[in-house]
Subunit: 139 residues, 3 copies
């Protein structure tokens, strides 16, 4: 069994979902793994990973506004406000979604469903540079 | 190290939790892996995976009603309503739970705790056929 | 490729976040894996795992109070109250966070971001003894 790693950089322009499916697919394909798995790992606590529908952009818009309503900016509940009203909500949204996702590689392809895309979920309002580690293992 | 994969099909009769522990255990046992890990991966964006208590069925009932209240069907917040009032809530519930779960295999057994069961969490009201990829790797 | 496993015991004094980063780092270092990955798996349904900021303790306090407000103890919605008013909320909080997290090992180190720490999230009010299985695989 072999393994390969790569750090992916995603430059965001503020909160929203940023699809990384094609970059992850290209990295996986280049490793020529027939059977194995890919793990994506987000190195942040105010951005995270989600697998979501990538057909209708409204899904991404709705996800964003739902999370904003569930964890509102400037909530007086929060003490940790050092970096502004969207600081602690970003941490909570990260905890509510995923930091690592593992996708099997079957017949040389990621086992993503027909409508599945992999997204970096940026929870901060300001632009950020985000790092995601990709790790494939297999034969 | 060896690896094996299998696609599991779960036919649901609408929203609820469907336990797949025994099927996953049987697949794992058949591979005769002593030390390793199993990854379950859900190929959908309106169904997901959770590990939950499998002793009292009320836990599954309570989980279901909590998520229904947290992400209500027909919420006017949502724009993506193509497939009905439970369409976008299903995507949100998937984002709030897990798409992939990895369980170590210790002494030829899944390291599930005493009360842990693995469930497919169906978020749509109508029956669906769901696909879960199982992947074991180990020795 | 090699793999090693260890069960980590965390004794909690009631609900809150318990950082296990150093213990996980020490286990990983001792296995002398240069390139690979570590999976942490929580063997419970009323405690879970999160990766969160470990610089300001207020983040952990805020996470705790947010989850308490989101899933309040004694909610009349819940039928499963066998072990008290914090029983079912603990299961819900586990479902909303993560049971397994996989972190790549790059250049002999866990690929944790600068501010990332790995935490056991205890959701019960009473002290508990929690078990987390650590599994490394790599070369």
């Amino acid at each position: 069994m072999r393994q390969e790693q790569q750090e992916l950089t995603v430059t965001t322009s503020g909160h929203g979902l940023y699809e990384i499916t094609e970059k992850v697919r290209a990295f996986t394909k280049a490793q020529r793994i027939v059977t194995g798995q890919l793990t994506a790992y987000c190195r942040h606590t105010s951005a995270s990973l989600v697998i979501q529908e990538n057909a209708d952009p409204d899904v991404q818009r709705d996800l964003l506004v739902f999370f904003q309503r569930l964890v509102p900016d400037g909530d007086p509940l929060f003490v940790h406000t050092m970096e502004g009203p969207d600081d602690m909500p970003a941490h909570v949204k990260s905890a509510l979604t995923q930091t690592s996702i593992t996708i099997p590689i079957v017949d040389s392809k990621l086992a993503l469903g027909t409508w599945q895309g992999l997204y970096l979920f940026e929870h901060r309002k300001m632009p950020h540079v985000r790092k995601i580690v990709l790790h494939v293992v297999g034969v």
